[in-house]
């Protein structure tokens, strides 16, 4: 089962409320996305910690329903 851009955005926003999110459906198949996310919560964190915050917001869907989400993160 694939996730829509809205579902991904809502999940991220629920954990990272101030996130500015830009998601692209790379292949038009609801399965391969790239996401650019910036948030104050990322300030002072390593890239690994930033990506882990995003993965946690997706509540176990990453690597399961959501096969491919390439992530770029930055602080604000």
């Amino acid at each position: 089962m694939a996730l829509s851009i809205k579902e991904i955005t809502d999940l991220i926003k629920s954990s990272i409320p101030d996130a500015a999110i830009e998601i692209k459906d790379l292949k038009g198949d609801n399965n391969h996305y790239s996401a650019k996310i910036s948030s104050k919560l990322f300030n002072g964190l390593t890239r690994i910690e930033q990506h882990k915050l995003v993965y946690k917001s997706l509540k176990g869907k990453m690597g399961n329903e959501l096969h491919a989400l390439s992530i770029t993160t930055e602080g604000k």
Partner: protein, 105 residues
């Protein structure tokens, strides 16, 4: 516990260790291929661990790193990241710098 020890041994005994889908010669996923190609491009010796051959390893490495996706790169026993982070580090020159610092290239 056993799989955790096995992973510990792998990252201890291999300075550059890539947990991937497929092998460096025949990657089975675009993300694993991308990281493998970056390492080849930098001419660094690395051990590729094919997690598709071992279901226990496939789940074990995700728990071990607290990271939900494959590939996963370890350098000198330290978790570096997945495909996005490795590519970003490569593009910024940080990966080459890290490998040079550890005298691996």
């Amino acid at each position: 516990m056993e799989i955790k020890n096995e992973i510990n041994q792998l990252i201890k005994n291999n300075d550059v260790c890539l947990f991937m889908k497929g092998t460096p010669e025949a990657p089975q996923c675009g993300f694993s291929m991308a990281v493998s190609n970056v390492l080849k491009h930098l001419n660094v010796n690395f051990r590729g661990v094919n997690i598709l051959e071992n279901e226990e390893m496939r789940n074990g490495i995700k728990d071990f790193s607290d990271w939900p996706t494959i590939p996963q790169l370890y350098i000198k026993g330290e978790f570096i990241g997945g495909c996005d982070i490795v590519k970003e580090m490569f593009e910024k020159g940080d990966l080459k710098e890290l490998l040079t610092k550890h005298s691996l290239i």
